[in-house]
Symmetry: C2
Subunit: 357 residues, 2 copies
């Protein structure tokens, strides 16, 4: 294993120390329990947005803490869920009295721990809602997941809900918005290579010099098919058509029901994209793929969308939700409306995403 | 070779097509000869900044075309100099009557072709100056270079000179500023892995599972030493101390002298950094290294700078001048003054760099 690290067990903590040193004007890091939060003063009456999950997907989530996006992020060890005490401590730190939205990627460990944190926080008088992101259409169940995995749409939800919170949306409105973004977002990824988790020291999976994994998860979970390398245009066609023709759009997610005071199953149904829909096209690098290649994917994607009558009115291109040094990419298509566009365009200032400020 | 590409010979053109499709509000691409330029109207009386070089270093340079940075970029094939006709056509396209500054990385092909383009443009009545960037302190001469190579400081020069041009600096002032940025900027890099040029199909060089190359060039040129993998703290110490104690700061670069109407050698002398200096610390990913590792480098770098009495007052962290999917990083330290800080902070809006707008 060749990596720019010291001891594997210090990887996450030291990386956060580097972030804290680099962006002292934007973020602070608390250790034991570990969470990243805004360096700027708390805004009373603003809904606070918290996300988190295993490390190794940087810049998500810690790189998105700041004005217009997250109030706090809870990083676990690499590809390992953070613990409820991290999530609870973060909630206490950033609660401005208007409640907390936890944005949770659908992995069993994350789901369980964020549910526990939700209950702990509520028992301490903090109002918390909890929205799952389950946008990965590649497989129905996966290695660490019941149902669809949460991937690229998480980044979009954090941007859009962060803007809404900044603009004074209340907790129910931000949660409803987050549910809508998840409902309208669909993703699928592909890997050319594995990544190596520092603590393990060997690749998570093996691919030969000619193989790729279609439908890869962001922790290297198996996808739909292992196949031979194809032209980028062919790969992009498979990903894009899989997303457009997705038939897994009917599913249930667990959410906290404030009225009933219990966890309930919410049914999500969002029919496939249709001609004339306005979309945000997000081409994400898995971390190790050159930007020039990511633009090759975007090139074909934009051609397909045009043929299909889908209007790309916004886009995002680059490494946002990565899998360490994995080579590959994912495509996320999010159906937009005027409100989502307005929130997307709002200013943001975080370590890894800044515009308008 | 596994890459997200179609035919290797179409790689650069198709990637630019993807960029043009993604950022139609910011850039346009001209083909035959190939250059990228701002989609926004020409600003009469503004000095135009043009850079260029081989492709494979994205986002540099095409990703930096837009308000507050470049007016045009001339991409060659991967790791291959662009041609004088590209540079001339770009100059004609973006000339607003106030002249052109070519920012040129010190590689023999780039230098020769930009010199030729300078003469061609001048013969057509366009005023052009030409500043070399030669900030890589790793080796004195290299595979494609006489003297020091041009690396990370190029990114900083494009940002700072772009801001100055936007603020109405005249051509001599922008050139003088660029010379100062180059004079005060020092860099050194390290590679954990090679990259593979699409047209070649095999790695540029071989490193064993335990080897690294200290002082690597951005085209995989040999550095100072091939050695065994070390802790990131040790690697960062070697890079940082090499930069701080640099003794190669006395050198000459060729520039066009407008008064004499000929190329002259300009002597550059900038003594080493001193206690109390304010600096910009730039930790650049070579493309394939996870962001979390880049922050580990920044962590140690900031500690060393503090020990040495150097004040990091600005920083830049991430993949800006890459070498395709190469794993590794480079450190650039730029001595700042009030004017450079003011220009650094100015708004910018390009495909890959945006803030304040």
């Amino acid at each position: 294993m060749k990596k720019l690290i010291n001891k594997p067990e210090d990887f996450v903590r030291e990386s956060l120390q580097g972030m804290a040193a680099a962006h002292a004007d934007l973020i602070k890091v608390n250790y034991d329990p570990t969470f990243v939060y805004r360096a700027t003063p708390l805004i009373p009456g603003k809904v606070a947005i918290i996300s988190g999950g295993g490390s190794g997907h940087e810049p998500m989530h810690a790189g998105f803490v700041g004005h217009g996006m997250l109030d706090a992020a809870c990083p676990g060890e690499v590809f390992t869920s953070p613990t409820p005490d991290q999530m609870l401590a973060a909630a206490k730190q950033v609660d401005g009295g208007a409640g907390i939205l936890y944005i949770v990627k659908n992995y069993s460990g994350d789901v369980m721990n964020f549910e526990m944190a939700t209950e702990l926080a509520r028992s301490e008088g903090i109002r918390v809602l909890n929205i799952l992101i389950d946008d990965d259409i590649a497989v129905k169940d996966s290695l660490y997941t019941q149902g669809r995995r949460g991937v690229g749409t998480t980044v979009l939800a954090e941007k859009i809900c962060g803007a809404a919170a900044e603009q004074g949306y209340d907790l129910s409105q931000v949660a409803e918005l987050c549910r809508r973004v998840n409902l309208h977002g669909r993703s699928m990824g592909i890997a050319l290579t594995s990544c190596t988790v520092p603590a393990k020291g060997t690749p998570t999976f093996e691919l030969s010099d000619r193989e790729i994994e279609l439908g890869i998860g962001i922790h290297g979970e198996p996808g739909r098919e292992r196949t031979y390398i194809k032209l980028v245009d062919e790969i992009t066609e498979i990903l894009t058509h899989s997303i457009i023709e997705d038939v897994s759009y009917r599913r249930t997610v667990r959410e906290w029901d404030e009225n009933q005071g219990e966890w309930i199953d919410v049914e999500l149904i969002d029919p496939p994209l249709q001609k004339g829909d306005r979309i945000l096209a997000f081409v994400n690098s898995m971390g190790g793929t050159p930007l020039a290649e990511v633009y090759l994917v975007y090139r074909k994607l934009s051609q397909i969308c045009e043929q299909q009558g889908l209007q790309i009115v916004r886009n995002l291109i680059g490494p946002y939700i990565t899998s360490l040094e994995m080579q590959g990419c994912s495509i996320t298509l999010l159906k937009l409306d005027d409100e989502l566009i307005r929130l997307w365009d709002a200013p943001v200032k975080t370590p890894s995403w800044r515009w308008g400020i």
